[in-house]
Amino acid sequence: MIAPRFVPFVLKQVIRHPLRTILTVGGVATAMFLFVAVQAMQRGVHAATVEEAEDTTLVVYREDRFCPFTSRLPQYYMDQIERIDGVRTVTPMKVVVNNCRTSLDVVTFRGVHVASFIEQHASQLRVIDGSTAQWEHRSDAALLGETLARRRGLNVGDRFDAAGVTSYVAGIVQSTEPQVENAAYVHLDFLQQATDRTLGIVTQFNVKVNEPSQLDAVAAAIDDLFHTAEAPTTTRSEKAFVSHVATDMIELIESTRWLGYGCLAAVLALVGNAIVLSAQDRIKEHAILQTLGYKGGLIGRLIISEAIVVTLMGGTVGSTVAMTIIHWTRLSMSADGLSIPIEANPFLFLVGLLIAAALGIVAGLVPAWQAMRRPIAHCFRAL
């Protein structure tokens, strides 16, 4: 946009007007912080609910139930589901949460058959502390997702108590699956006895199918099978299940996108105002540059470059602070035992910077155009 030899001139204009720059950068940083935070929530919804071509997991839930406390399915369904064509594995799961409401810090216990869980999820889990062997051998042991462990400050060897369940941290795992990252996996029978003292009842079955293309057919077959049973089922893909059960929370999060757009509008107005005022203050300076032989187009590009530098500085500060807070707090929004992670990654940071730069260009266009078109003689006469 401008030759490299003009870059120091632009930077000096920004740095040597410190008060104007600090105030503008501060405003941009605040707005970009909010924008990145909102985008992080939106990305969490996307990660938790948008189905991908390779998804092969179904969730079998009690028909017309949305809360883990009311979805009660007989555990013996497992054998019948396993016999359906296309089913690879079935994991009965008891889900217990410490808080039924929507919250940023919900502890979700998932009771599973430990051996089959390890067998089925080995490829998706990375143990970062402790071991699955210890989890397997100790009946009250829990395997914690890293997000939950960090949020609660838990380490291997700690005992922790939530939802009336006291367990021992045997391992901490990382996973690409948001639901795994936010849960504490314990032995199924331990959780059944620790909560309602009833063996043989689970909250849901997680069913893996052989091919992604079989998801719909297998789901229909499962629901048909239990259509007239004591506890009819509704079976959906895992992502569809999350988006269905957590509908209210997802709608709320998605509505925050307007807040994000508002932040961008605020940046545009703020930087536009700062650059217009700056350009008006410097009519004489631009006239001097033109007298020296600077063309109108170059002066316009210098103004736009200054706007880009300011928005990039604000974007960098705001995005970095937002990313740091999101990374360290590891917050996720949970409802009914399902988690929507607040996700921030380098791509989001890059998007934040690109949007900031684009806003700088847009904000600088009008003052740049005015400065380009202003005849030198008029500038000097106007002073």
């Binding site: 030899r5 540059l289 033109q290 109108g296």
Partner: protein, 231 residues
């Protein structure tokens, strides 16, 4: 050799329903290396003529040929490029960029020319040395006196080695000793570098440093005095 040739040069501004003619059919010839002073009452057309010669305004009619080129036919874009090569402009109020140091102000016109950073450094250093302000190269305009600011402005005007320097009342804002020093400097540049110099002034004392003084009134040439400049 003729450097500037004006023929029937006219500038008309419209104001409301009427029109103002700051220049009205002016004929003038300035030779290369000449030092010309423009004098006359306010509104006589001095600054308008200066701006036309500097290429920052265009005549309404007539021709303005500078170094063989009719600049009245150039577009805004072409004029900007032409200015960067031919003109050094000295303002009454110095007009330095306040956030840049003396060095950086002098470097500004060189950024338009294809040269390395080292070449720019050498040119800026030589210009600051010539105007006697090299020791203040890292000072901001607010840290300099009026005379020193004007010296920096002169260094900025000569750093590209232009063929013509135009000066709009260069001593108008200076005390007598500073004005004397600045005029001696301009005279030195005119003599040593052979740069054609056109200066607007109200002060007869200042005009004596020029080789010729052109008196204007109502946009027309009144008299043209040859004089011997002070040594």
């Amino acid at each position: 050799m003729t450097m500037i040739q004006c023929q029937n040069l006219t500038k008309i501004y419209t104001k409301g329903m009427g029109e103002i003619r700051p220049l009205d059919g002016l004929d003038l010839e300035v030779h290369s290396g000449q030092f010309l002073a423009l004098m006359g009452p306010s509104g006589s057309g001095k600054t308008t003529l200066l701006n036309l010669i500097a290429g920052i305004d265009l005549p309404t009619s007539g021709s303005l040929i500078i170094d063989g080129q009719d600049v009245s036919t150039l577009s805004r874009h072409q004029l900007a490029e032409w200015r960067s090569q031919y003109i050094g402009y000295i303002f009454q109020l110095y007009n330095l960029v306040p956030v840049l140091t003396a060095y950086e102000n002098v470097e500004l016109p060189l950024l338009l020319h294809p040269m390395t950073r080292r070449q720019r450094q050498e040119r800026v250093a030589a210009s600051l040395e010539l105007v006697g302000i090299a020791d203040r190269h890292d000072h901001y305009p607010r840290q300099l006196s009026g005379g020193q600011e004007q010296r920096v402005a002169i260094a900025r005007a000569i750093v590209t080695d232009p063929k013509i320097i135009v000066a709009d009342e260069p001593t108008g804002d200076l005390d007598k000793p500073s004005a004397h020093n600045v005029m001696e400097l301009l005279q030195k540049i005119n003599r040593e570098l052979g740069t054609t110099m056109i200066m607007v002034t109200h002060d007869p004392g200042t005009s004596r440093y020029a080789q010729k003084t052109l008196h204007l009134d109502k946009g027309q040439l009144v008299t043209l005095d040859d004089q011997e400049a002070p040594a």
